[in-house]
Assembly symmetry: C2
Homo-oligomer: 223 residues x 2
């Protein structure tokens, strides 16, 4: 441990003592707001479809039935079947609006059942990922690529980013106050004008942490 490291640690301790004395929320040595909580949402397996693939499967564009937490995003009335080399999953949710290319988001557990070696990726980053077959009652589409395990992330507005002491593309550690408490590391911060504050985890992360819809997260470190 060098002098700089010692200075940083002691500096953090002293900063927090001073914050406490002034009655402010504690700020970590890294300048993070580690007190305010973030809603945690579980993204169950779902599909995003291109317009062409939606028409191929259903004969028409997607039909919105429910708004999601991020503005403009919706759950569609339509459902699809995923057909992998080892397994099949029925009644899989489709989210809209349509994107430039179709994408399938599953958990590692799902991927194993389907027989698809899906990597952990951020949404949209599908180059070189495995494909899969999508089917409806009336159509079938073969995706060349697009199956991913969605990497955990936090949506937030610029105002929230300023409040938490983070910036777009930061990676942070987030503590979940759940039944099987964990700190998830390398959580990507995504800042956008239209984003509502929400952390998204996948079903494996939800099951392993004992997640329920009341669970919240706190940023506890920067990676």
């Amino acid at each position: 441990m060098n002098e700089k490291a010692i200075e940083e640690i002691l500096g953090g301790v002293i900063r927090n003592v001073l914050s406490e004395l002034k009655g402010q929320s504690p700020v970590s040595a890294a300048g993070l707001n580690t007190t305010d909580s973030i809603p945690v949402e579980l993204s169950a397996r779902h599909v995003h479809l291109s317009e062409a693939d939606a028409v191929e499967l259903f004969g028409h564009a997607l039909t919105p039935v429910r708004e999601l937490s991020q503005p403009g995003q919706f759950l569609a009335k339509e459902r699809v079947r995923l057909i992998g080399p080892k397994g099949v999953m029925d009644n899989v949710a489709v989210l809209g609006p349509s994107r430039d290319s179709s994408q399938v988001e599953v958990s590692k557990t799902d991927a194993r059942i389907l027989g698809v070696d899906a990597p952990v990726r951020q949404s949209g980053d599908v180059a070189g990922t495995p494909g899969i077959i999508l089917a409806s009652q009336t159509g079938i589409v073969g995706l060349e690529e697009g199956v991913i395990v969605a990497s955990r992330h936090i949506h937030m507005s610029p105002a929230d980013a300023s409040r938490f002491g983070v910036a777009d593309s930061d990676k942070v550690s987030v503590h979940l106050d759940s039944d099987r408490p964990v700190t998830l590391e390398e959580v990507l911060v995504r800042v956008g004008d239209s984003f509502n504050l929400a952390m998204h985890i996948d079903p494996d992360e939800g099951n392993s942490s004992g997640w329920n819809s009341q669970v919240t997260g706190r940023i506890v470190g920067r990676n």
Copy 2:
């Protein structure tokens, strides 16, 4: 933050600076060895059987085929089918030797598929847990209770406990150096003369952390 808390934090910082200057491994404020690594093993779904249930299912006692990491424990040749109200799982491993009562260890994901509301419990703590039906080619057994999601834990010898600065029944936070890095909190320490050093996690914890057999853990805090 009171004076005592400030003293504790500064005390920890000073202790570590002194350890570093003396060339020793860092010891946390809580007196933990946070440097040495612990092998992490994934416990896939499995069943422990009482002698009576083994005989009911197979007509004889269990047949060992492979030693497990904890001395005396083995994987049996025999396999069972789990039959829950919503789903069935075939070819489930049976571990020996036989215990006083049968117990089924599944993940939350499995429990959902089977339709059984299994709580997170330590092995052996099955009072009030749901039952399930076990079947073989030749027999069937209905368990009144015994289905649990095994709570993560670390087996270690008294010498390891001394080395890590922990005691039996302590709960600690363990950082996994995996592809999706996490810190699992409230991990139970189980100290026994016959225990080999190994942390056991369940398949949901394995999938959500990107576990593989090379992954190790470090104790990073006491809960």
